[in-house]
């Protein structure tokens, strides 16, 4: 009898504990749900509906809005306002017991360190932003990270890849790197060519600043790890926003390279491709950002064939969720958006554009779950967090606030072969250029971002 009572008591305690953990188990991981997305038919990026009330969640959007790289600012002004439009139509985000609207405020970095710092401080001190978002350029992102640390504001590194940003020296617990890191690209690209085992001679041409050098280093590390028989036949670094690529292409021509490896982003990536093809260099370019459709249209189908693009986001349209998002975006692009948002660049929400859309939704989800804009509460939720989106799962590594994720690679193919990934009518992404064909996923275990040993176990301390 006594033992029966004991067993009963234990059963009750066990059942009670199970009930306690039930909500957690039911909640699962946070996810982007396309079915919950607002009706976006009235979204106009040329005239975004910007909330002007005072009681809002204010996010400073740091980007290049003037000068040579202004096209970058144009892109992310659209993606961020897309999110704000959607969230605000849903009523906002519940923080501190009140639903608050989201507003993005521009900060022009001009692509220059001094202006970037000034803009970041202005957003925090004058515009009272609770979050900073951005930016293109690791050197600029490092500045934003330091400013965010100084004023204790959460910073989403949504666009810079350099690994050093999250090493022990530069790490800031206020910064979360959602963007793909160079070590992912470096290792992933090397792994891809090792498996392919055809081309062995690589020429590295990157931008002459921290990102370019860091990417090249990571690629060399990746080759050493996965493809030791590969050979670097040349290495060059050109100034950011270079005017003339001819001298570099001449050297590439003479080097006997079989593949050009480049991390060049807008507008350098497009200019490099055009110069290569104009000078008769038809080598494949293993790239990250030479996927800008306007630049690709300038050279056409034949000359974009064989480009090898590594990307944060690449997905076929086999699931209903992906199809729904694609159709909403595509419909707006075709029927509503005006210049510059009706150009080829904005036709498909893919690549870096999609990456930024979903990573910003992740930030929104974190704020929602934290129920606050308090940095400490945000850090608590985001560290170790997992987020599901239409093309996979991201994990925010707690020790160094780095997004651990898969990498996607595709060799560009002519329109008639694009049905390998574009699985709904008209079965091609773009008619006038070569684009994504078969998508190869490099699992994160083959391209895990490097963790600085000094940061190992930091979060659990």
């Amino acid at each position: 009898m006594k033992s029966a009572k004991k067993i009963l008591l234990l059963t009750i305690i066990f059942s009670f504990l199970c009930l306690l953990s039930l909500p957690q188990a039911m909640a699962g991981r946070a996810a982007f749900d396309v079915h919950k997305m607002s009706d976006m038919s009235d979204f106009d990026p040329n005239n975004p509906d910007i909330y002007t009330g005072k009681d809002a969640i204010r996010i400073g959007l740091l980007q290049i809005f003037s000068g040579a790289g202004a096209g970058n600012g144009e892109i992310f002004w659209l993606t961020c306002n897309w999110i704000a439009h959607d969230i605000n139509k849903r009523g906002g985000i519940l923080v501190d017991g009140k639903k608050k609207k989201v507003v993005f405020i521009k900060g022009d970095t001009k692509g220059k360190p001094a202006d970037c710092k000034k803009a970041a401080e202005r957003l925090i001190l004058k515009d009272k932003c609770q979050f900073l978002w951005g930016t293109s350029g690791s050197h600029l992102t490092n500045i934003i990270s330091q400013v965010a640390k100084k004023y204790k504001v959460i910073h989403q590194n949504s666009l810079a890849c350099s690994d050093y940003l999250m090493d022990a020296k530069n790490f800031s617990r206020y910064t979360f790197q959602t963007f793909t890191r160079n070590s992912i690209f470096g290792q992933g690209g090397a792994y891809y060519y090792a498996k392919r085992n055809k081309e062995k001679k690589f020429y590295i041409l990157c931008q002459d600043y921290s990102f370019g050098h860091s990417l090249a280093d990571e690629f060399k590390i990746g080759l050493k790890k996965y493809f030791p028989e590969a050979q670097i036949v040349g290495e060059d670094y050109h100034p950011l926003f270079a005017k003339d690529f001819a001298p570099y292409v001449t050297k590439i021509k003479a080097s006997g390279a079989e593949v050009i490896f480049s991390g060049d982003w807008l507008p350098d990536g497009g200019n490099l491709l055009k110069t290569c093809r104009d000078m008769g260099v038809d080598l494949p370019i293993l790239n990250i950002f030479v996927d800008e459709p306007n630049a690709l249209h300038a050279v056409g189908v034949e000359k974009t064939k064989g480009l090898v693009n590594m990307n944060h986001y690449m997905a076929d349209l086999r699931t209903p969720e992906r199809q729904k998002f694609f159709k909403v975006w595509d419909n707006l692009w075709r029927t509503k958006w005006k210049k510059p948002y009706n150009t080829w660049l904005y036709k498909v929400c893919g690549g870096t554009i999609a990456e930024c859309v979903y990573s910003t939704y992740w930030l929104m989800s974190v704020i929602e779950r934290a129920g606050s804009t308090d940095p400490e509460k945000i850090i608590k939720v985001w560290e170790g967090d997992e987020y599901e989106h239409p093309f996979g799962v991201w994990k925010m590594r707690a020790d160094d606030h780095t997004n651990v994720r898969d990498l996607f690679i595709s060799e560009y193919v002519p329109p008639e072969e694009q049905k390998a990934s574009m699985t709904i009518p008209p079965y091609y992404w773009f008619k006038g250029i070569s684009s994504i064909g078969k998508i190869i996923t490099i699992p994160s275990k083959y391209c895990t971002p490097t963790l600085d040993p000094a940061l190992k176990g930091r979060a659990s301390k």
């Binding site: 809005f65 001094a114 710092k117 401080e121 001190l125 004058k126 690791s138 931008q207 002459d208 921290s210």
Partner: protein, 332 residues
């Protein structure tokens, strides 16, 4: 006597406003004032060449940037370097740069001088861009430690605090401007005006024009270096695009012209006008340089004497008018 009293009251009022300013307006505008004061000093050093000696430099960023880089690199590599020596390193580096370039520069004037300074400025820009192991290349030098202001055994003030740095920068800039002002009031200061107006005549009087020019160049460069050092400490970041880009050479020229090159305090007015304009324009557009450029053109075309010149002419007109009226009333 009464006007002197008014002047003292005015200075006292300015001092009180400056002391209270950071406690009233907050960090953002405190930093704006620090930046304004640094650019005031920078513009004054350029005006020492342009307004006083008649030498138009298109490469003054060489000294400003040189000073900024020297301070940043010194603070990065010399652990425990105190604050004042860090600032002085910036100034001294600029002096060395002036010493190196002056043998060539003082022998020319006019367009040749302008072009040579431009060339030296650009040379420095490219050097800093290319030697990325030392200067950080396009990334620049950032995140270096900002030492506290320390008097051993007496006080240690944290300079990462914007309010504390505001007072420090204001004192350094104020003292530098005061030294330059005294310099212009010395007999040597009068000689450099003579060089501007008629170099040949000064030479006939027995003064060595190239040596005079070299000295002005070194003093101007040195203080521009100090301004650069203060800028590096404020921003905690030095980059080619921030301190050595050609715009940074044109900026003090614009400030001096807009404020008025005929007056010692003109460049300060110019710096104030451009700072205020920058703040206002940024509220509406990212094209700040477009508007400031337009203002510069308008000033050059319609108010060549600048803001202080305009004030002086208004004052003169009013004064003459009122004294004329007084005479007429007395006569009637």
């Amino acid at each position: 006597m009464r006007s002197k009293l008014y002047l003292w009251i005015l200075w006292a009022a300015i001092l009180v406003i400056l002391i209270l300013f950071p406690h009233v307006v907050g960090i953002y505008y405190t930093n704006v004032v620090v930046l304004f004061s640094i650019f005031s000093l920078y513009a004054i050093t350029l005006n020492l060449l342009l307004g006083y000696t008649g030498l138009l430099s298109f490469g003054h960023a060489l000294f400003f940037g040189g000073g900024a880089y020297a301070t940043a690199i010194a603070l990065t590599h010399i652990p425990g370097l105190p604050l004042i020596p860090a600032v002085l390193i910036g100034g001294l580096t600029a002096v060395v740069l002036a010493l190196i370039t002056s043998p060539l520069l003082v022998r020319v004037s006019g367009t040749a001088f302008a072009m040579l300074t431009l060339a030296f400025g650009q040379l420095m820009y490219v050097i800093c861009l290319k030697f990325r192991n030392i200067t950080g290349g396009e990334d620049g030098v950032g995140g270096f430690p900002i030492p506290p202001f320390t008097i051993p055994g007496v006080v240690s003030i944290d300079m990462t605090n914007p309010t504390n740095y505001y007072y420090f920068a204001l004192i350094v800039v104020g003292l530098s401007i005061l030294v330059i002002w005294f310099f212009t009031k010395t007999p040597f200061g009068q000689i450099i005006i003579g060089v501007r107006d008629n170099a040949q005549r000064v030479s006939y009087m027995g003064f060595k024009v190239p040596h005079t020019k070299a000295l002005v160049f070194i003093i101007s460069g040195g203080f521009a270096g100090i301004a650069g050092a203060c800028y590096a400490l404020l921003q905690n970041l030095v980059s080619t695009d921030g301190v050595l880009v050609i715009y940074m050479s044109f900026l003090p020229i614009m400030m001096a012209f807009i404020g008025g090159i005929g007056s010692f305090f003109g460049p300060i007015c110019g710096a104030a006008i451009l700072t205020i304009l920058d703040e206002l324009i940024t509220m509406y557009t990212e094209r700040v340089e477009l508007v400031t450029g337009l203002v510069f053109i308008l000033v050059v075309m319609f108010v060549p004497a600048g803001f202080t010149g305009l004030l002086a002419s208004i004052k003169e007109k009013l004064f003459i008018k009122s004294s004329d009226q007084g005479i007429m009333e007395q006569a009637s």
